[in-house]
Each structure stands twice: as C-alpha cells, then as structure tokens.
Amino acid sequence: MISDTLVDLSRLQFAATALYHFLFVPLTLGLSFLLAIMESVYVMTGNPVYKEMTKFWGKLFGINFALGVATGITMEFQFGTNWSYYSHYVGDIFGTPLAIEGLMAFFLESTFVGLFFFGWERLSKVKHLMVTWLVALGSNFSALWILVANGWMQYPVGAEFNPETLRMELTSFAEVFFSPVAQVKFVHTVSAGYTTGACFVLGISAWYLLHGRHIAFAQRSFAIAAAFGLASVLSVITLGDESGYELGHVQKVKLAAIEGMWETHPPPAPFTVIGFIDQDNMRTNHAIEVPWMMGLIATRSLTEPVTGLKDLSAEHERRIRNGMHAYAALQQVRANPADAAAKARLKELSDDLGYGLLLKRHAPNVVDATEAQIALAVRDALPPVKPLFWAFRIMVGAGFFMLVVFVLALVSSSRRAIMRQRWLLKLAVVAIPMPWIASEMGWLVAELGRQPWTVAEVLPTWMSVSSLSVGDLVFSLCGFVLLYTALLVVELYLMLKFARKGPADVPGHPAAQASAPSIA
C-alpha cells in the first residue's frame, strides 16, 4: 500500500528533477529571444559585431540548452513512472497539452537548434535569422503548453469526473487552454525567462567592461540586455501582481498561506512584510504589516474581504464531510450503475469528491472516517505556510532588486556613462544569480502552495503516486541527483570557461574585428 515514505520520496524526486530542469529553462527562453534580437540587428545593419554577439552568446546558449533538453526528457516520462495514479486519473486532460507541446513546440525548437549552430555557412543571412527566430518561437510555445498543463493542475476547469472510467475527463478544451490561471502563469514565466537571459548577458558584459575587454562588443550587449531586461522584469512584476489577483479568486488557500494570514481581516486587509510563522498554533508572530496593501493586491478594492486560513479550514471541514457523501454515492453507482438516485447525488456532490479522497490517507474506506481522522484530513488540507511565506518574499525581493539594476543599467548605458560607473558594473555581476533564485522560489511558491493536491481540490498528492517500493525510489532519486549534479558541475565549468575566454577566443571566431559600418 501507499506509505508516507513513498509519497515523500516521490515528491522529493519530482521537486529535485523539476528544480534542476528549471535551472536551464529560463535561460533558454530568454537567451533564444536575445539571440534573435541580436541577429536581427546584424541582418538589418550588416554590422559584423552583432553576428559575433549572436555566435558568442549562442555558444553559451548551447551549453545551457543541452542540459535543458537532458533534464527535460525525464519530465515527459516521470508522470508515468512515479505518478501513475495521477496519470490515469487526469491523463485525459493533462496529457493533451503535453503532447501538443511536443507537436507544436519542442519539435520546432529542436529541429532548428541544430541548424542554428551548423547552418551559418550553409544558409543565407535571412534564412539563418529565420531559423533563430523559429528556435525562440519554439521554446516559447513550449512554455505556453507546459504552463497550460500546470495551470490546469492549479485550477482544473473544463473537466468532469466519469464514474464509469473512474477518472476526470475533458469537457472543454477551450476552457483548459484559456484558463486565466494558465495564461497569467505563461506570461509571468516567460517574462521571468527573458529577465534571466537579460541578467546573464548584462552581468557577463559588465564583467568584460570591468576588465577592459571586448569593449565594443560588451557595451552593445550590455545596452541590449538592459533594455530587454527592464521591459521583461516590469512584465514579471506586473504579471506577478496579476496572479495575486487571480489567486484571490481561485486559489484562496495559496494566497492566504503566502501571506501567513490566519484570520479574515475586515477589509482592506494588511500585507505582512515580515513575520514568524507558527503553523501549529495558527498564528504569525512579530509581524510587520503594511495596512490596506493585501486587500488592494488580492481584490483591487477596499471593501472585499480576503479570507484567512482559519476560515478556509472551516470551509475544508465542511467539504470533507460532503466528500464522504460523494464517495459513498460513487461506491453505490459502481455497485449498481443503474442507480439513478445515487448518480444524481454523485453529480451534485462531485465538486467535493476530491475532499473525500483527502481522507484516504487516514481512513482507507473514507465513508467510515472518525472525527479524529476528519480532523487530520482538515489539518492536511493546508499547505506548509512557513516555506511558502519565505519563498515568496525571497522571490519578490530578488525581482525588485533586478528592477533597480535594470533601471540603473538602462539610464547609464543610454547616457553612455557606463564605463565611469564601476560600482554599477560590479552590481550587475553580483546580480547574475538573482533570476535563478527568483525562478526556483517561484516554482516552490506555485507548487508547494498547491499542496496537499496534485490537482487542486480534485486529486490529493498522497493518492497520485505509483505503487513502487521505497527501494525503487531510492535508486531513481539517488541516480537522478548524482547524474544531474555531475552534469551541472560540468556545465558550470564550461560556462565559466567560455564566458571567461570571451568572444575573441571562441575557436574559429575572428577576433573583435574593426567593424566597418556598412550601409544596407
């Protein structure tokens, strides 16, 4: 049977492999676009320094891309290997965006990425530029479909439970695709990717400028990265705020947990900047609050309340009790498919069936759960508040830090003052890890905030795992962690080596040529 150890190890493996994968994806998203922009400038102006830029940043892009692909293969199959009940229960909906991602996006990106590297001598300027844009387009479409899939896990629309097949089935593809959660997540995530690419180019260019190397090359790269980065980080923050607004409507628990908000405040609710979470006693100690701010972010009004976790827990208890009736009705329908009354009751209560399944961990038959077991399920229904609270604050802090860096960088480079402001160059180098910190924390906020569900209010994480042994999981988890860590070390080594070498020393690349401006 399912053991807590098995569930914990499965979650750990998923988190480890996803977090590793997500180290490489944002840079692919951002750099592919930056490469396309640089090469467009090259094709439009004919200035070879932009071709050199495309090739040099392309080299670093390739080093990163390889690991993005390597760690991505795992993700496509891991639902089946480690989350087989999940795959059965929601594959009818969740599998579709994943498959379309392959058809529409990953094929495009992967087919043309080879030509990006090998096609310089075989394609005309314009055709090569088209190839680069197709790679960028492919990686962005890829993010779109993955986030449609993920958005559905957060906010499962366009589907209903079918007692004959014992799973969720699609009722409207359009609802799944146009889900507001999916769309907001998509723009937020790709913008984070663009920010990552911009931060990477900005920081490395700043390092060259600090060392007085490749000046013309680095100044141009710095300027492009600053402009692209500012636009991107503004988009990340705006869309982050937009997701806060969406959360206020559809993921109230996640929102309240992020805020460590236990009580429902009379509107408008305050925003807790810092505090110490005590989940056992359901309170936040020594909180520093900004009045009104939470109410404004979550409801965009001064009169709507933001529900606190205690009230949400009471709501959970009601729905768990309803879920027991739903589960009982399901058993009746399965025993006698012709029982119209049971069918009608199941349909009426089917929104709470998932809450009934929350009891499975404590009471395998669900319907005979004791009061103590119900209390345990109510406790389970809240995500871990402390890590969410802090992950969110680190993410937002890193985001605003980058905003400041990009504003300063853009002002400085447009005034051509950058060479005099060494402190800003140093700041840009220090800022390189920021987007990665923010992205990993963002993943944690999104996925930890969804707990205890794999599919919000439909399927508990605890039920979603495969019937594997703990030994299986130890084998696969250790294997992935060792392999990925070894590959990450190699990747960082190559990245540093080639970044240090700089554009002039890339094998076969001409040194920064005196670029004769050509008139197209």
């Binding site: 390597a70 009940y85 969740f94 599998g95 058809l103 043309f112 084998f475 190699v490």
Partner: protein, 384 residues
C-alpha cells in the same frame, strides 16, 4: 459527407486511428532517431581516431536533436491518447525506463560538450557516454517489446490503481533478450546505412562492413524470435468486452491467455504475412542497394525497421499491454484510450502539425545534405 465525418470521428474509428498514430510515432522514432542510436552504438567500432569520431558525431550532429523529439512526442502522445498505458507501462517497467532515461540524458550533453575541450580523457569519457546513450536504449526497447509479447505481471485494484508484481530482472528473460538483439542489430544496421550516405573513404568502407554484420545478426535474431513466438509464446485473446465504443475501463472485459493467439490476426488476413517478410526483404535490399544507391538503401532499411515493429504490433492487436497474471486486466485499444473528446482534439492537432514537422525536418536534412569529411571537422568551427 457528414456521415463520413461521423464515421471518421466515431470512438471506434478514432481508437483505431490512434493505435495507428502511435505506430507512426514509434516507427518515426525508430527510423529517425534509430540511426542516431545505432551510430552511437557503433561509435567505438567504426571510428578509431578522434577525428573519425568527430566525423561520425557530425554526420548526425545537426539533426539528432530534432530526431529525438519523436521519442518525447511518443511519450506525450501515449499520455494523451492512452493514459492507462502510459500509467501502467512506465511505472511497471520502472527500473528499465529509469535506466533508459539515464542513458538518454547522457546524449545531449555528449553531443554538445564532447568537442568543446581538446583533452583526450574528456573526449573519450563523452564518447563512452554517447555509446551508452545509443546502445542501452536500442537494446532495452527491444527487451520491452519482448516482454509485451509475453505479457507483463500487472493488475488493477478496484480503484484502477495499477500494481506490478514483477521486478527488473524478470524482464531480462531469454525471449525478451532475443528481441533486444533484434532491435539493437536493426538500429545498428540502420545507422550503418545512414553513415554510408554521409561519409567517404575508410569510414564508408567500415560502415559497409558493419551494415553486413548487423543485417545478418538482425535477420537471424528476427527469425529466431518469430519461430519462438509461433512455437513457444502464448498469446492473448479477448473473450468478451464492452464493445469498441465502450467506456475505457479495462476491468469490464474478460480475456484469456492461449497458445497461438498471437497468430490469429495473421490467420484471419494472410496478407499480413507480408509485413514480417518486408522486414527481411528491406534488410536484404538495403545491403544490395548500399554501394550504388545509398539513398534508396536508407529507404529500404527504414522499411525493414518499420515492418519489424509492425510485425509485433499486428500480432498483438487489439492488445497493447497484456497482463500475464490477470489476462482480463490487459490493456487493449478498446479500453485504455482517452475520452472521445480528447481523441478528437488530439487527432486534429496531429493532422495539423505532423505534416508540418515532416516538411521542415526534410528542409533541414536538405540544407545539411552531403557527406561529412575529415577535412570538414578539422577546418570549420560549425562542427562539434
């Protein structure tokens, strides 16, 4: 017209279409990424110096990445169209699939990182990774098919949770290993044929020699596996089921394990015997055409690859994942698909995008056409 559309979009038709699509994707993977895997497996024996290995790697360097997506898309399509099979097969073959994933993970890194540094130890490490990344999946996919043909020890409980009562070593039985040899030799043959399109001189001659060796091993192993299947492997037969339009619930049927059941389709339609025959004929034709018309040899070898996979798939139809411990829990094309609506959406998406994929993939191959020579890899930076 609307009748035709209704027929085309009926649950029964779509289920069969999706069985065919899955075959197309699987064969697409075996044909397109198969030669990449085969070349990986042949890397240590065909290329002896560093420059020779670079030539081999560069024959597939620009295109392997796109080819690999056939595998990823295969995974996604099984998830979307046959979620029960995705759930049962991948968790059942857990250790085997994790090993394949480890091997496949080494490939992108091997290709992209190998030639970035000149150090011989660095390069030989990655060469071994590329070898493992080709050899292991090529072998394991065949072993997996060998186990599918025998049935695997899976069962469902009343809530449709799948249990697998076997272990990794149970997969390594003699029949499955013969099937593993079939697929390894077949893909090595296919890789050697592709190499003859893309190399000249000594490498070309070695590729030719290995095509012969691989084709012989393939044909013998395919014959042995076929005879073994006919004489010694029980098939599965549907006794009763909810109908081809029924709900996707595998527990609503009865099936039995029975000697000779895998030949039922071949007996019912003897024309199907052409499929295994094409496996042998394609390999023989690829050998004959090799020296003069390498392009057509590649087509013949691709036909052989496709026919080999179809031989097994046709024998099993409508079964897809038979259960050896509870035959009635087997997964068939009639009871393991997605809902009608999902199959329809996926059908439209596939019809829309698959031709596009084939179109732009062909364009990329056209751009990169022509052989890779030792002078190329020494003289240009557009190479690994």
């Amino acid at each position: 017209m609307s009748d035709l559309l209704a027929l085309l979009m009926s649950y029964e038709t779509l289920r069969v279409i999706w069985w065919l699509f899955l075959g197309v994707l699987l064969i697409g993977f075996a044909v397109m990424d198969g030669f990449d895997l085969g070349i990986g497996a042949l890397l240590p024996v065909i290329a002896r110096t560093d420059d020779e290995r670079r030539v081999l790697i560069n024959t597939i360097g620009p295109t392997w990445e796109g080819n690999q997506v056939w595998f990823v898309l295969g995974g996604g399509a099984i998830f979307a169209a046959f979620p029960l099979i995705y759930a049962a097969a991948f968790s059942g073959f857990f250790v085997a699939l994790i090993l394949v994933l480890f091997a496949l993970i080494l490939r992108p890194v091997g290709f992209d990182y190998r030639s970035k540094l000149p150090d011989p130890r660095w390069r030989s490490t990655w060469d071994w990774c590329l070898f493992v990344g080709g050899f292991v999946p090529a072998l394991v996919f065949g072993v997996a098919f060998g186990n599918l043909l025998q049935g695997v020890p899976l069962r469902f409980d009343a809530e449709m949770r799948v249990f697998y009562d076997g272990n990794f070593f149970g997969l390594l039985n003699p029949f499955a290993l013969v099937c593993g040899v079939v697929s390894l030799a077949m893909l090595a043959m296919h890789g050697a044929v592709f190499l003859q399109l893309k190399t000249v001189g000594e490498l070309h001659a070695r590729a030719r020699r290995w095509q012969g060796i691989a084709a012989l091993v393939y044909a013998s192993a395919f014959a042995v596996a076929g005879l073994w299947l006919v004489l010694g492997i029980d098939g599965y037969r549907l006794v009763s089921f909810a109908g081809s339009e029924g709900a996707s619930n595998p527990l609503a049927k009865t099936a039995v394990r029975e000697a000779g059941a895998w030949l039922a389709n071949y007996r019912a339609a003897p024309l199907l015997w052409l499929i295994p025959a094409l496996g042998f004929a394609g390999a023989a034709l690829a050998w004959r055409l090799g020296p003069r018309r390498p392009g057509w040899a590649f087509v013949a070898s691709a036909v052989s690859v496709g026919a080999t996979i179809l031989t097994a798939a046709v024998a099993m139809f409508p079964f897809m994942l038979p259960s050896s411990i509870a035959p009635s829990h087997s997964l068939t094309v009639w009871d393991s698909t997605s809902s009608l609506l999902t199959l329809r959406w996926m059908f439209c998406m596939t019809v829309l995008f698959l031709p596009l994929i084939i179109l732009y993939t062909s364009w990329v191959f056209r751009v990169m056409r022509g052989p890779v020579t030792l002078d190329d890899v020494r003289g240009s930076d557009a190479h690994y």
